[in-house]
């Protein structure tokens, strides 16, 4: 147990953890939105994110991105990357709903069937990219390999400001602020707009909502789209922060994001944020205290302990209820 390291740089580890958790939170929002309305664990959401990261790679490669480009190019790259990632992720999410889930909804299938379908969709998406990657690298003479794909580091990581020996880098700052902004925006959207009211209505009681003239199909497409768009944002942030992607990049991340959503109270937007940040911090603390290969154990142990005392997560389930 390396307590010296943890408490010696406590602030630094907390900042690292929060930045790590912010990405979990953004992905977790997608799980929570869909779950809040459909009571469906959309396993394929992690692959929606993965598709977004590849969209960023594609656009940046096409635009000939390099490490730390001049500001004008940088803004162009970020905007193009964001647009591509959001479009790719949003479309993928809506397409999975249209192709796979809608028919099951018509049958009013039990959750287990949804879950297996979602797992199937997730496999299809990630494997399709895996196979494509293998083909892609075959051209390079590397054989059929599903390698990690590197991207240029468009933003050079620098210390933005320091508080009492704790460095906050520009990228961490961007990620954290983006997560907060997205979260707040989504919260406002759900609680203040007409569409948001529809979402809440369907989440609360689909039949009654339908009687009141809410188009349930449209609401469901909307939440898949929203989740996909957020995953697209997360994908761009991922590209800036980590600069790598793989066909199975979504699996572990999706697992963590889902854990985060459950931790905070699935179906609850603020819960997703809280759960994500908490999970990120716990993982970094655990990895610092012991070794990095124990961080997953710590994450799951925290989940179990929280669920023991608060069986519906920290903030409870509440997408349906007014005032999230």
């Amino acid at each position: 147990m390396n307590f010296d390291e943890l408490f010696g740089h406590f602030g630094q580890h907390t900042v690292d953890g929060l930045a790590k958790g912010a990405i979990y939170a953004l992905v977790a929002l997608g799980y929570t939105l869909v779950y809040g309305v459909l009571k469906l664990i959309n396993f394929a959401h992690s692959e929606v994110f993965m598709v977004g990261t590849f969209a960023v790679v594609g656009v940046w490669t096409a635009m000939g991105a390099t490490d730390s480009p001049p500001v004008g190019t940088l803004i162009l790259l970020l905007v193009a990357g964001l647009a591509a990632a959001m479009a790719a992720s949003g479309l993928t999410a809506v397409a999975t709903e249209r192709i796979a889930y809608r028919r099951l909804r018509r049958m009013n299938a039990p959750p287990l069937i949804f879950l297996i379908t979602a797992i199937g969709v997730s496999l299809v998406l990630s494997e399709a990219y895996g196979v494509w990657l293998a083909r892609f690298f075959q051209g390079d003479g590397l054989g059929s390999q599903r390698l990690v794909v590197g991207m240029p580091a468009v933003i050079k990581q620098d210390v933005l400001f320091s508080v009492g020996g704790t460095d906050v880098t520009n990228i961490q700052f961007i990620i954290f602020v983006s997560a907060l902004v997205m979260m707040a925006g989504l919260d406002q959207f759900i609680n203040r707009t007409r569409y948001g009211r529809g979402v809440r209505a369907v989440a609360q009681n689909p039949d009654t909502a339908a009687l009141m003239g809410v188009n349930k199909d449209r609401v469901i497409v909307l939440i898949f789209l929203l989740g996909g768009l957020l995953a697209g944002v997360a994908a761009l942030l991922w590209a800036i922060r980590y600069g790598n992607t793989r066909f199975n990049v979504g699996f572990v991340l999706g697992l963590k994001a889902f854990t985060a959503a459950v931790l905070g109270g699935i179906g609850n937007l603020r819960g997703a944020l809280l759960g994500g940040l908490l999970l990120g911090v716990v993982e970094v603390y655990a990895a610092t205290l012991t070794q990095s290969n124990w961080e997953d154990v710590a994450a799951f142990v925290v989940l179990v302990v929280v669920l023991l005392f608060r069986p519906t997560g920290l903030l409870g389930e509440s997408l349906g209820r007014a005032r999230a």
Partner: protein, 381 residues
């Protein structure tokens, strides 16, 4: 498109239902004869040499896997599916961490039965036992079952109060914890795993004439026998008081509670029974391969297990057995696909769920539940 699928679906349902009804309408002796013939065929399977059917063998294609070996894995997976069916199909609890029990069963025989395991070495040193001492295979068997049952209770006790989806993620976490602990700890052999796991004839050696390294057929027959015994056992359980309690809980836990069926108690029972069967399959698996390492117990395997149950038809033992067999067998038979294997697997999962959500051989009760739900669905969705 949807219409075509639907009408085809209906026709198929009639056909399948028809076979099922006719089968049940047969006199008892005829069913018994057919069943015995079928079991006989299963025992004959590794020798499969019937002209016209040899293409079923996985070694029919160059680069194919050994046929009896594949059958053995199929049999182990069928055992897993039967165990998981108790949890998912009968009690209606979604367990995404079943691989954890499988791993505990496998590690029980490895840690206590192999002379190369750190646990056995520590025991030898502590108790001053000879170098070739290890717990006998036959003793490892009840040990494995006991340990998995205990871990099932330990996992179930705090978590079974949670609702369905929470349970799913917690069990998934449990499976991961088991794997990571096995990988990170030195007393489990760490990433190197443990070799020298014993079989019915003791420690692995080239002199073992029946359960040896090379000929897998006896191993398959052993696994098949275990499967048949467990099918019989679980069938009895299903029709017992406990089985009826599970059913009641699955249908409506509150109503069952009002009738005096303690939900928690019977759910814990289901968890422990399922865990024991998972442990038993892990035990058989490890004995045969005489080497295990933590990479073999990844979360994808858990997902495969659940898929076997759901694709086959949750709640129906013949169904889950068929599901397990197909999901283990088809990828081996069509090895030519290699890198497309998982892609095809994913597609198949989606298609089966869309076309036949009740599973390949549905449990009658479950199929009816599904139909009821479809009728309940509001018109506008």
């Amino acid at each position: 498109m949807m219409e075509i699928i639907r009408s085809w679906n209906d026709r198929r349902r009639d056909l399948a239902g028809g076979v099922g009804d006719r089968w049940r309408a047969l006199p008892r002796w005829q069913r018994a004869v057919a069943f015995v013939a079928f079991v006989g065929f299963l025992y004959y399977l590794p020798l499969l040499g019937i002209p016209g059917l040899t293409w079923l063998r996985t070694d029919y294609v160059p680069g194919g896997n050994n046929w009896a070996g594949v059958l053995f894995v199929c049999a182990v997976y069928v055992l897993v599916a039967i165990g998981l069916n108790v949890v998912v199909g009968l009690a209606g609890l979604l367990d995404l961490g079943y691989v954890g029990f499988f791993a505990i069963g496998a590690y029980s025989v490895a840690l206590f039965g192999s002379t190369q395991s750190p646990v056995v070495k520590a025991l030898q040193n502590q108790l001053g036992l000879p170098q070739d001492w290890a717990v006998a295979w036959a003793v490892c068997l009840p040990l494995a079952i006991a340990l998995t049952m205990i871990s099932g209770v330990i996992l179930g006790w705090p978590t079974l109060r949670l609702r369905g989806d929470y349970l799913a993620i917690v069990t998934l976490g449990f499976g991961e914890i088991i794997r990571i602990v096995a990988r990170n700890s030195s007393w489990t052999g760490g990433p190197q795993g443990i070799a020298g796991i014993p079989g019915p004839q003791g420690a692995p050696s080239a002199d073992n004439d029946i359960f040896g390294f090379i000929d897998v057929k006896p191993w398959y027959w052993l696994a098949l026998t275990v499967v048949l015994a467990m099918v019989f056992g679980v069938r009895r359980l299903e029709q017992s008081r406990v089985g009826r309690a599970w059913l009641a809980i699955r249908e409506d836990e509150d109503a069952a509670g009002v009738m005096g069926v303690s939900g928690f108690k019977y759910k814990l029972w289901a968890f422990a029974m399922g865990a024991a069967l998972g442990g038993l399959s892990g035990f058989v698996f490890a004995s045969r391969f005489n080497f295990i390492d933590p990479t073999q117990f990844n979360p994808q395997l858990s997902i495969l297990f659940v898929a076997m149950v759901v694709v086959g038809g949750a709640g129906n033992m013949a169904g889950v057995a068929l599901g397990a067999f197909l999901l283990a067998y088809l990828p081996e038979r069509f090895r030519g696909f290699e890198e497309y294997r998982n892609l095809v697997f994913g597609l198949a999962l989606v298609l089966v769920m869309l076309i036949r959500p009740q599973g390949l051989i549905p449990s009658r009760r479950r199929a009816r539940e599904l139909e009821d739900r479809a009728k309940e669905a509001p018109a506008n969705v």
